[in-house]
Symmetry: C2
Subunit: 241 residues, 2 copies
């Protein structure tokens, strides 16, 4: 039976951009598990009401609900030992370090690219919650987070510096093959890639090359997903050629 | 035959504080290799003149010279496969990520604790080179790097934040046992520990606990080494009790 992945959707249900949900999409693809994505919105959390979790990602695997991206990754490795996301305690420690670097260096820069842009893509009913919770979290307005393309990209390139050396020497954070460590960072970058009106990784050097490798894994799954830029090009307001 | 490790010494040859040399001391201890430490100073590099390297650490293993801490770590694993410092490509990638985080987050904070303090411990003949090269590197005077104990410790705790999550969950950056990833960070912290007039890790939470675990490895090798604080207590200017 297919695993259900409850994933944050924007007003357009094809735009699914949660960084934490992307970690789990990639984890499910990595393990070759069959899954169905179910759109979820801040304005209607009833689909996961029985889960015990009030945020996504949440998965439902048969009768079992699991929430929180790290807990889901551990659950998947425990329940489906094929194609481990993390091979051992060393591998888990490496992924936790990537979580730490994302928290201290990458997210603080990424929010300037993505938070206001993500807000604009939400359904109207979700916007008040999102604005209030994020403005409390960042202690400023969503508009104040937006420093413009030039400064946001420069800040992002700086926030990604810690990854430059390893991604110059290795194909993946996991070495010769991706591990959950790769998906932890990828989720943050894919979030920006989907919601940002400009391509955010232009200045990111070897990290941009690694991002493209991740985009092309699993039949190019992530590369094929619409972004706000592709959606705009193909959108109803664009005259046909 | 014992491996020779050429290691930066202060005026007092017992004070050996180079962060890069500490990585290699710990690596040699990890592998259980017999080694002899040979003091080296900026003011007299003749001992390694035949090596092809103009900075330490440099090791001499029989007729073979190897310099640069990362290259030495790889050499040791290749030449002495017992007790690997890094088990595979994933392990190497994790250590390179720690190098990256040290470069972007830890060193910029650590220099405020350690650079002026290290300068004061050098032999007089080494000081002009050290001052000129470091002032060019940091684009300020050594004195300007020194922001005082309170601010330096707060900055250091912030620079170490990326490691908090992993070192709360794991004993070591390598998971259940130390790997070269651990020694990469340890070198930077041991440098500060030796040269700083105050204990620098008071505010560093789980990282401080991990530092103590590393200090106590290999018969407490690192814990037993004199620091400027212990040297002061035992020094000739202190009246005997």
């Amino acid at each position: 039976m297919s695993i259900e992945l409850y994933d944050l959707a924007g007003q357009d249900p094809d735009l699914m951009f949660s960084p934490f949900c992307w970690r789990i999409r990639m984890a499910l693809l990595h393990k070759g598990l069959d899954f169905t994505v179910i759109p979820w919105r801040f304005s209607d959390r009833s689909a996961t009401a029985g889960s015990g979790y009030d945020a996504v990602p949440v998965i439902r695997d048969g009768e079992r609900w699991v929430g929180d991206s790290w807990a889901i990754a551990l659950y998947l490795d425990r329940t489906y030992p094929q194609a481990p996301l993390m091979h051992n305690a060393e591998s888990q420690a490496a992924a936790r370090l990537v979580l730490g670097v994302c928290g201290t260096c990458v997210f603080p820069a990424a929010v300037r690219v993505a938070v206001l842009a993500a807000y604009k893509l939400l359904d109207d009913a979700s916007k008040p919650y999102f604005r209030a919770s994020r403005e409390a979290m960042f202690a400023c307005t969503l508009e104040e987070l937006d420093v413009g393309e030039h400064r946001a990209k420069a800040g992002l390139a700086e926030g990604l510096q810690a990854f430059t050396e390893v991604l110059t020497a290795s194909e993946y954070l996991g070495g010769e093959a991706p591990t959950y460590a790769d998906y932890v960072l990828f989720g943050v970058l894919k979030w920006m890639d989907i919601v940002s009106p400009y391509a955010p990784l232009d200045d990111a050097g070897p990290v941009a090359g690694w991002f493209d490798r991740l985009q092309n894994l699993y039949g190019g799954y992530a590369a094929k997903v619409p972004t706000v830029r592709s959606a705009t090009v193909a959108g109803p307001d664009t005259p046909s050629p």
